[in-house]
Symmetry: C2
Subunit: 518 residues, 2 copies
């Protein structure tokens, strides 16, 4: 069994109390450890009875049968015609038997490979993988300044992903390297993810040729034949709610699905604006959107692995601002989880995604509201679990490492309770008796290191001790830890020939591609 | 149905955006509203199967039969002898039939009265009441200074409790009025709670005569006859784990139980130090301690209302420091909730209690970890849900109002999902169709104010807007809101004759009592 405590100590070895040169030396002396995928051993929480889930499913089917969904891409429309959809112009109405027949082809779990074979994960079932955030134009940096992201920041975040035991992916665009021209940016993003981290990574979906570049780069790393059939990258496609799959998303979907690569079919819903002002209504709509996209992938490549997904935030109905860790976001996750189980699909939700501008109390309240629901709703791929601030516009270094440590706690939580040593624990009560203490018992000596989660970035010391150490708030401690981790970072081995081939490919493509979007 | 949104707006009317004179005027113009008790409409989460709960129950019974529990008070020992306990000196071994027979006399719910009859609450069943923290010697004040608490601070916290719609109690010693001599302090604490807040309050347990003073003051407010039989105050008694009920706690227990007032029987467990280093083992021990205390109350007054309770934190096994919002604390809550249901007892746990020194990210993560579990484990009396910092040593003004707003979100969460307008929401999808937006639909117009929780102390505005407003972190916004609320506070009516009688009683007792503890 994985000792989360041990990992927690290791990852924090360069933290507050063991900083400086010694801390870095200690960190380097330890082997870099990555946790295997989290296997949840606790039951899921069913917020509503099965009949309520059936009712939502029924309404989703009716939407697709009666209203239909837009597929704004001639190739997709041709595929739907061929596949049996009721097509009128770009509107596709889908009969529920056709729909469920296609969705039923999707495997309920799949193996996601990594360039380091030890970092491969199985997505689905009781497994949960944790993936850092994606897509921030801004960063909140090591000096607590908010500015545009750079390639250096992106490299740093990939390094931090590598050094965070409970993160199972490099993600890809953790922040945007804003100094690089948009048409060429994807090459450097993917290279950074592959170079600085040996965990699974994520794809690019902003244009068909960029998705193709991703598959070519993956081919260089994994072998061209391998990536024709074996999942090595996860891509995200967002439905434009309500009920529109646009050409950009469909293009990316086709590229990845043809390579048998999993795509997350995730309506990005601003509930109240792009859905009705009803949590249940929003879920029924988003479910329809996701199912339509999933069905389409099975026309492209039957049996290809896909992820049922959602990203749903409520909207402040006065200002239009998206909100983060609200109770409704949590409630909707429970519905989506139950629907995913009904369809036997691996599914993605989001964890620590917040509206807060800072890694402050708001961020903490919001983060846990969402992650608690994500874990208890049995999500398989929990995204945006490191760094996210400002509704995704900003990635914070301090938030990143804060989140990464919290994930270790979720390992303990979702790992369930151990009854294995229960008899021994009760024997200790008899041994100690009334008014005694347990610190010297055999049971305590055997279990004190593993019994309880002991985060080190969180501060439980006395006020006096904490004051003596500089009265630092959690945000400050987070920045210090991020800095120390980056100083201690060592790059995972990458075959020099592969590295060279990747660089050659990038150089070649850079010459081909324009320097600005035409 | 209560409109949480409306309340959220009201309580925040003097907040950031509507501060100053106008804000105060707006606040005064509105009637002060208090939410009725939260009625949970969502299922509880069962972390472990029933057999695991039975196993824990079995081990708890064995402890009480074989090891027994200390009752360090001659009167309690006499009561146990009379009542059928196996008594040897101060050790009482309790047969499970005797134990469960006594525990079975406790009502599974009771009505807790308040001096304002509209503020009375029913404790038990699907009801949850929220109660501010208790017992902090220090405060983190409106200027973010940490210093000893004073009577002025205590008055302020009772005012904030009055102004927080989702708080159902004044608690009592929210912070210690440190300038008042200990022997006289309880008089001023109880007076402050009764004077500045018209919600239920909590008792004092530090000495028998202080508990008697509380009942006399309650008699002045509610009528001497009324308080002989009707619950008007909740008192807290902590078992000294492992397995010791001391004379101070037993004295208080006897006073309150004889008046038919509910006592929380709450082992205060530092898991790993005063229990074994096992979450399950800790629960089995704490359960035994609570049951022994509960059984005793039924020998004192059969049928008196009591609360099964727990306060369990894990201990950093290296420093001995208590930790706050850990995964184990959450897991143990689920076990205690299941045990409470097995015994058909109303039960108390704690919500937003954290180890953090500040109202920062750590506090947010910790708070929600615990409250999420408290709600899903079906707790009836969730204590320490406003103000708590530093493992209870400090009450923060900012934390207090932060927590109080979060509670409104838990109303939404635990209120469950509404399917009432589901058909209308789906009609809106048909009306809007692909690529439309929902802001103008009839359904949205009807539901936009109530569909989603819109906290106002949390900031979801754009970075630019937030910067223009001063780039304030959540902690700063919390202090501003606390200040604004206190400026807008209006005292709830208290019959002048009752007020005078309370003051007379205090003056009389002050003359009688010593100025220092002998």
């Amino acid at each position: 069994m994985v000792n989360v405590q041990e990992l927690s100590k290791q990852v924090s070895a360069t933290g507050r109390r063991a900083g400086g040169r010694e801390g870095r030396r200690a960190m380097r002396a330890q082997p870099l450890i990555s946790l295997p995928v989290l296997v949840r051993k606790i039951p899921v929480y069913e917020l509503v009875p099965d009949e309520a889930i059936e009712l939502i499913h029924e309404e989703s089917c009716k939407i697709l049968e009666e209203v239909g969904c837009e597929f704004r891409d001639p190739e997709a429309i041709a595929i739907w015609k061929q596949g049996g959809g009721d097509v009128r112009e770009t509107r596709v109405r889908i009969d529920r038997n056709l729909l469920m027949g296609l969705v039923g082809k999707i495997p309920s779990e799949f193996r996601l490979h990594a360039r380091n074979p030890d970092r491969a994960v199985t997505v689905g079932g009781n497994n949960t993988v944790f993936v850092p955030m994606y897509g921030a134009p801004y960063v909140r940096d090591l000096d607590n300044q908010r500015r545009y992201g750079s390639l250096k920041d992106l490299n740093n975040f990939h390094r931090l992903a590598q050094m965070s035991p409970a993160l199972h992916s490099a993600s890809s665009i953790i922040c945007e390297p804003m100094e690089i021209a948009v048409p060429k940016r994807h090459l450097h993003i993917v290279y950074s993810a592959l170079k600085h981290c040996d965990k699974p990574f994520m794809g690019i979906v902003t244009a068909r040729e960029r998705a193709e570049d991703v598959m070519k780069m993956a081919g260089i790393v994994f072998g061209e034949n391998f990536v024709r059939d074996n999942p090595v990258v996860v891509a995200i496609t967002n439905c434009n709610s309500p009920l529109v799959w646009d050409v950009t998303m469909l293009d990316a979907m086709k590229v990845y699905a043809r390579h048998n690569q999993p795509v997350i079919l995730a309506p990005f819903a601003l509930c109240g604006a792009s859905t009705s002002a009803s949590s249940v209504g929003a879920v029924a709509q988003v479910n329809a959107e996701a199912l339509a996209g999933l069905a389409f992938t099975q026309l492209v490549r039957p049996g290809s692995p896909q992820l049922y997904g959602q990203f749903m935030v409520t909207v402040d109905m006065k200002s239009g601002a998206p909100m983060g860790g609200t109770p409704e976001a949590a409630q909707m996750m429970f519905l989506m989880g139950a629907l995913a189980r009904r369809y036997k699909l691996p599914w993605r939700t989001s964890g620590f995604h917040v509206g807060s501008k800072l890694n402050d109390a708001q961020a903490g309240y919001e983060s846990n509201m969402l992650m608690h629901a994500a874990i208890l709703s049995g999500a398989n791929y929990i995204w945006h679990v490191a760094g996210w601030l400002e509704a995704g516009l900003c990635c914070g270094y301090s938030k990143f490492v804060t989140d990464a440590e919290q994930l270790l706690g979720w390992y303990k939580y979702a790992g369930g309770l151990s009854f294995e040593d229960f008899k021994e624990a009760m024997a200790a009560v008899r041994e100690v008796g009334p008014a005694g203490h347990f610190l010297g018992t055999q049971h305590t000596l055997e279990h004190f290191e593993s019994a309880f989660f002991m985060p080190t970035l969180m501060d439980f010391s006395s006020f006096e001790q904490w004051s003596a150490e500089g009265s630092k708030d959690h945000d400050t401690r987070g920045r210090e830890k991020a800095r120390a981790l980056l100083e201690a970072y060592e790059e995972p081995k990458l075959d020099p020939a592969v590295d060279e081939a990747l660089r050659d490919f990038i150089a070649w493509r850079e010459r081909e591609l324009p320097s600005s979007v035409s």
